[in-house]
């Protein structure tokens, strides 16, 4: 159904109302002089597709529109869509513009053809520069215009890319120039980012405005990602290749996006440590041993890929990777070194290179660019400096002008100008001059009205068997800065969804039941060791948070309950305080002081590693490196728990306040436990999470038993331990006599019907271990299983009357030994697990 026919079915007065609203939104909309605008044509009249969009939007009540905008914002926050500004520890929430960028289909066809053409040119240049170097030898491209790029990697020369391609994903940053045509501002070939954010923005906006999204016939994004995945699959040697996304880790700026894309496309998210080169092949370390990696989608910079042949200081790469590439053993997307085509130095040569290679002009022009390494070009730039924008020929900033990305010749003061002129004269190779271009604006929603804002659009192309496929849409950044070339994510920049509007209704793809909602594929193959490790520790930390909270809750509860001066209770309180301190949740010197003070520290301190707050942060850290494996609900609960526990109180909390804080956090943990049982879908991953929880619970329960069920334990002590392990009700229903040592010890340590007992934990761990993959082929038990079987049989045959504190301590130590054995067998161990010291010699 087209927009027109839809409108005509609506009552006239509703339509008039919508037109009135559109008029209000756009009243006073004034593009800047001489700069084209997406909403308003050169003649001052709105473009038809924008009018269609705004009227469709205006059919909704203003309150409803605001509610939908609000829902979109909440969705972004809840999904944890975020990015990191380089050097910052905390991620920032992704700012999304409420209005999409609209592009009509006929115009899009031109853009797509231009981007595909440019991708093909870049592939050609890469093949030549790293291959026989004809373009260089014949003078079409100066060697110095290539070698200045930090991404020019000499060791890659002469290597034939496995799978035949230097690039599998390419992106161009484009904007509309003053003549109304689209211009290319920058090329991205190293590891183009933003495609995942484009997908997320689409998900958010199409959910907020489902009917509008349908009515406007917006081209879907999902087919593009399928093409990309198929292209990678076909490049590999094996029919069902294992595809890995190599990430620099959770501190990279776009880690969220990497985790999201890995999950969406069903790729393994790996760090350098997860991969190892053996016998000329690249392998992933998994819990089932080494498994071959066929394709690596690289988000680690080329120079950091292999400390053996590239940057020896890199700790992000895989030793031997280049040799494996040289042997054709692994497909790289993109090849290390592909980043050279991002250099501005190349821009001026591209039109001629395209004519030379393909006999055609570029469909999308660059900004006119002169590389100052050539005499004639340098003279033009220096003569016309006032009309020029000067940028670095390579890299982000201008040499000698730290932090500056662009210098406008007309705005330079005398001394800077002299400095720049001298620098260009001395090392022209480092500079380009570019025509000053102001880019078009698009409407943003500002205080209930439309306002023009400059933008840059990143368009993606994927290599497929049939050539380059271009994503119908892209990653759009809208800025408050008037020079949109300087737009990167940071203050004052928003992203916007990009709607390519088809003339016909868009086919629903089977992948996409509603809008662009995402069907997540199961991850291929085995669980990587690093993921298993982090899941195990997530389980341990969560359980440790729980134990700390239970101790605090128990302490506060007792203080509230007792009569002043009742001595058995006093002694229990002191023991609780002592345990909390020895736990690392508070300082020992607080023992004996006011329980409220100690409880507040145990809950909120950031200085004590065992406090609930610190442990919640540790849980969050473990979770954040396996984000692609956690459901959104799980992620929300873990981050919610962290937010709740790390919020700082103004002053020392009272006992009831501490009780309340601990109690509420325990309820979040209970919800999380339920969710983990129901929601963590990959079998082995869930098992490691559960093994971690159970080992930790077993160890903690032994500690409780040692402190409160020793041979001198009072009835009140025993009462405490039943409280801590949540077994009061069970005990009372089973024993009518009141608390006694042997029955309590049985319930805490041995009773496998009690889900809080140590015996129960060991039984579950033993079951988990039985289902995990084996490395031994001789049928003998692997070490973790040997330990769990032995421990389980010892606990099963133990007599509660014979238990003593020493024996309980023995069980606790065997559980720790079991944890070590599990780490040794399944996690990253051996030469590459720990980062070594640097070995070097002095000259």
């Amino acid at each position: 159904m087209s927009g027109e026919s839809l409108k005509s079915t609506r009552p006239v007065n509703k339509r008039a109302l919508a037109e009135k609203r559109v008029a209000e939104w756009t009243a006073g909309y004034a593009p800047l002089g001489g700069i084209p605008d997406e909403y308003m044509g050169a003649d001052g009249a709105p473009r038809p597709h924008w009018t269609r969009f705004l009227e469709a939007l205006a059919h909704q009540e203003p309150d409803e529109i605001n509610r939908r905008f609000g829902a979109a914002d909440r969705h972004i926050h809840d999904m944890g869509i975020s990015y990191r500004v380089y050097g910052e520890t905390n991620e920032r929430t992704w700012p999304l513009s409420h209005l999409p960028l609209l592009i009509a289909e006929n115009e899009w066809k031109h853009i797509a053809a231009g981007v595909a053409q440019r991708a093909a040119l870049m592939e050609h240049v890469l093949g030549d520069v790293y291959g026989d170097g004809k373009l260089i030898a014949e003078g079409a491209l100066p060697a110095a215009a290539v070698a200045g790029s930090q991404d020019f990697l000499p060791p890659m020369r002469g290597i034939k890319p496995p799978g035949g391609k230097w690039m599998h994903l390419y992106a161009a940053d484009i904007g509309r120039g003053p003549d109304g045509r689209w211009w290319v501002l920058d090329d991205r070939a190293q590891a183009p980012s933003g495609a995942g954010y484009a997908l997320e923005s689409r998900l958010v906006l199409s959910r907020a405005f489902p009917s509008l999204y349908r009515e406007m016939n917006v081209e879907r994004l999902a087919p593009f990602f399928r093409h990309y995945r198929d292209g990678l699959t076909h490049s590999a040697e094996r029919a069902e290749p294992r595809i890995c996304l190599l990430t620099p880790g959770p501190y990279s700026e776009t880690y969220f996006e990497q985790a999201y894309l890995a999950r969406y496309l069903g790729f393994l998210l790996v760090e350098g440590d997860d991969l190892v080169v053996r016998d000329g092949q690249v392998h992933v370390r998994t819990i089932a041993g080494l498994k071959r990696a066929d394709v690596i989608w690289r988000r680690v910079d080329g120079d950091y890929c292999d400390p053996l042949e590239m940057n020896a200081a890199s700790r992000l790469g895989v030793p031997g990777l280049i040799e494996a590439i040289r042997n054709g053993a692994v497909v790289m997307a993109n090849m290390p070194g592909a980043g050279i085509v991002e250099s501005r130095a190349l821009l001026g040569f591209l039109p001629a290179l395209n004519r030379r290679a393909f006999g055609k002009d570029l469909r999308l022009p660059n900004i006119a660019t002169w590389w100052c390494g050539q005499k004639a070009e340098r003279e033009i730039v220096l003569e016309r400096l006032d009309e020029m924008a000067i940028s670095g020929a390579f890299g982000e900033t201008i040499p000698g002008f730290p932090g500056k990305r662009i210098l406008l010749g007309s705005e330079l003061d005398g001394s800077d100008r002299a400095r720049l002129v001298r620098a260009i004269g001395e090392r022209g190779i480092d500079f380009v001059g570019q025509e000053v271009v102001r880019l078009s604006t698009t409407p943003a929603w500002v205080d209930g009205k439309l306002a023009p804002r400059p933008f840059v659009l990143r368009v993606y192309a994927a290599a497929t068997e049939k050539g380059w496929e271009v994503m119908p849409g892209g990653f759009c950044r809208i800025s408050d800065e008037m020079d949109a070339r300087a737009v990167s994510m940071g203050d004052g920049v928003k992203s916007a969804d990009v709607w390519v509007l088809s003339d016909k209704p868009v086919e629903m793809t089977s992948l996409l039941p509603t809008g662009d909602s995402v069907k997540i594929r199961r991850l291929l193959g085995n669980l990587p060791s690093r993921a298993a490790d982090n899941l195990f520790w997530l389980g341990r930390y969560l359980e440790r948070v729980e134990a700390t909270l239970r101790l605090v809750r128990c302490l506060c509860n007792r203080v509230v309950d007792i009569d002043v001066g009742a001595s058995p209770a006093r002694q229990s309180i002191e023991r609780l305080q002592r345990l909390i301190a020895s736990w690392g949740a508070a300082s020992v010197d607080l023992v004996g002081s006011s329980p409220a003070e100690l409880a507040t520290v145990a809950l909120c301190s950031t200085e004590h590693y065992g406090s609930a707050s610190s442990l919640a942060s540790s849980s969050m850290r473990a979770a954040s490196v396996i984000r692609e494996r956690l459901s959104t609900d799980t992620w929300q609960l873990v981050s919610g728990l962290e937010a709740r526990l790390t919020s700082k109180p103004e002053s020392i909390l009272s006992e009831p306040e501490c009780f309340d804080r601990a109690d509420r956090a325990l309820r979040v943990l209970a919800a999380l436990s339920g969710l983990i049982q129901e929601n963590v879908n990959r079998v082995a991953g869930w098992r490691f999470l559960d093994i971690g929880r159970r080992i930790e619970r077993g160890i903690n329960t032994c500690r409780f038993a040692r402190h409160f069920a020793d041979k001198d334990a009072t009835a009140d002590n025993l009462d405490v331990v039943l409280d801590l392990i949540d077994s009061q009700i069970t005990y009372r229903s089973r024993y009518l006599i009141g608390v006694a040592l042997a029955p309590v010890r049985d319930m805490v340590m041995l009773d496998t019907f009690n889900p809080r007992s140590v015996g129960f934990q060991v039984e579950r761990i033993d079951e988990h271990l039985a289902t995990l993959p084996l490395l031994r082929e001789d049928g003998m038990l692997e070490m973790p299983k040997r330990l769990s079987v032995k421990l389980l049989s010892d606990l099963s045959t133990e007599d509660a009357e014979q238990l003593d504190t020493n024996k309980i301590l023995g069980v606790e130590q065997r559980l720790m030994g079991l944890a070590d054995a599990i780490a040794e067998r399944y996690f990253l161990q051996g030469p590459h697990a720990v980062r070594g010291d640097k070995l070097t010699d002095l000259a």
């Binding site: 170097g133 100066p142 020369r157 200081a313 002095l842």
Partner: protein
């Protein structure tokens, strides 16, 4: 001249090391006035894996892995090399440095010895305004490239102190320059940085110089360890020419080249990673003896 070279490197560790992976560039280069008769490296404890290759710049690189627990790692490199370099060109005959600069920017090759690789900042050699400024003094307008570069070399020799205590292997170039002191590595990096700063291609060379000087000549600095100097590009006709700023010498038959690269990071004789928790002590000895006969 034929030399026997013995380069012994010993690491002693406080606590046992369970794993070491080393990259060695200890085999002298063949060609350009050098002929390698024999070259080999002994390692104790014996490595579990060894492999060697030639890197992009033509240096022999050996990678080895030691997986035996050890407290001492000893690497002994032995080589016999003949050195017979052509005499240096007369400095006044070399082209004006501005011509060399322009030729480098317009060069049409990415071969391993192409000037384009040595024009830009590299991992350990940034361009520093103060160093560039220091360099400009030697490069007056129209001066022949080798004359100007040799002048820069002599100034560094005169104005900088040879002081092994002043810097470590990781000291940034800028700091060594500010201190006006350091060792061969620092002087070479400073000179490379300065030359590139004015647009002249410059490479970093690692190698040795003969331990006992010829009769009547002083013993040279850097003779008891591995040494480093600079190679400067003098245009298409004259090509690369080596200058030793530590000793203010045009490199001749007393120098033996191990490896050439953009800076120390490309050519470090021994580089690697160990797994161990304690500190380490390093002892290096180098003997470069002329073979009689």
């Amino acid at each position: 001249m034929i030399y026997d070279i013995r380069h012994v490197t010993t690491y002693r560790y406080e606590t046992p090391v369970s794993f070491a992976r080393c990259t060695l560039r200890l085999a002298p280069r063949n060609g350009n006035g050098q002929r390698v008769f024999d070259s080999g490296v002994d390692v104790t404890p014996p490595p579990s894996a060894r492999s060697s290759r030639t890197d992009f710049f033509g240096n022999r690189v050996e990678t080895l892995t030691v997986e035996t627990s050890h407290r001492e790692l000893r690497i002994v490199a032995l080589s016999r090399v003949e050195v017979e370099r052509p005499p240096s060109p007369h400095v006044a005959l070399t082209p004006h440095w501005e011509q060399v600069k322009q030729a480098a920017a317009g060069s049409q090759s990415l071969a391993p010895d192409a000037p384009a690789h040595f024009l830009y900042r590299s991992r350990l050699v940034p361009m520093i305004e103060s160093i560039t400024d220091y360099t400009r003094t030697s490069f007056s307008a129209g001066r022949p490239i080798l004359e100007a570069a040799a002048d820069l070399m002599v100034r560094i020799r005169k104005e900088f102190d040879y002081d092994p205590e002043a810097t470590a292997v990781t000291t940034p170039v800028e700091e060594a320059f500010r201190r006006r002191g350091g060792v061969c590595q620092d002087f070479a990096h400073i000179m490379v940085s300065g030359l590139r700063g004015i647009g002249i291609p410059a490479a970093y060379v690692s190698g040795y110089i003969r331990t006992i000087p010829p009769p009547g000549k002083p013993r040279l600095e850097g003779a008891d360890a591995s040494h480093a100097w600079v190679s400067v590009w003098c245009g298409d006709e004259f090509g690369w020419h080596d200058l030793d700023p530590t000793n203010a010498l045009h490199v001749g038959n007393d120098h033996i080249v191990l490896a050439v690269g953009r800076d120390y990071a490309d050519v470090s004789p021994i580089d690697g990673v160990i797994l161990g928790s304690g500190g380490q002590k390093l002892a290096v000895s180098v003997d470069v003896a002329p073979v009689k006969g």
